[in-house]
Amino acid sequence: MSLKAIHIFFIALSILLALGFGIWSIYHHYLLMGVVSFLIGIALVYYGIRFLRKLRHVDMR
């Protein structure tokens, strides 16, 4: 598995963490932290798509 593949996996995990942490923050009344976390999650989705497009010619092995 290449660095490209592990990076995609890592970004997917980070998106899940950002969204999960956002829910946790709002549940525990940390509103600002929750909103920032959701925004980071959205930014990571955008970054992940851009990364995939830019490195589509690189082997996943």
Binding site: L3, I6, H7, S14, L17, F21, Y30, M33, S37, F51
Partner: protein, 205 residues
Amino acid sequence: MDIPYTVTARPDTGVYNAKVGIWLFLASEVMLFGGLFSAYIFLRIGAPAWPGMLGGQLYKTSFDILNVPIGTFNTMVLIASSVTIVMSWASLMMNDFGKYKRYMGLTILCGLAFLVVKAFEYNAKFSHGLFPAEGNFLAIYFTLTGLHGLHVVGGIIVNSYFWGPGSKMWKTDPKRFTNRIEVAGLYWHFVDIVWIFLFPTIYLL
């Protein structure tokens, strides 16, 4: 005599040798951290209260003791460092050594920032008399985060070598050097993935 398969893929594995080596090493690391995570789960299942009595005070949740905003900041720093190390590898593939230097430098700075913040966090615990011997929660917290911190230190040392003296290889054998950065990036991602699991497990749950 040349070392075989440092650049080209070995026919039976389909990848160059260093990549097989790092994945074998990371497999052993998964077992090491997996064992400690299992210890955490069993300690927690067996505890009547978690974190419980620490330093003569009863704590009902882990975030009563640990600083969640600081942990969140460190998580963002590590995510950023993963992005920069991938960018450094991608820069080498595009033959841009100057960009590689900048991105690898940023990765090292992110690693150092993580350690500095962690040191402040540890210091705050110690100044409140919260040492590993106080209870199971603090023991597993310091063991897991301490071991992770040692891995960050190891990564910084390797990345600094590739940023500094080790980068001379770019002039003599650029393909092999690019592969070395990929291997360093795989290790760095492993360290970051461990933190992605550590942070919610210890700080939030």
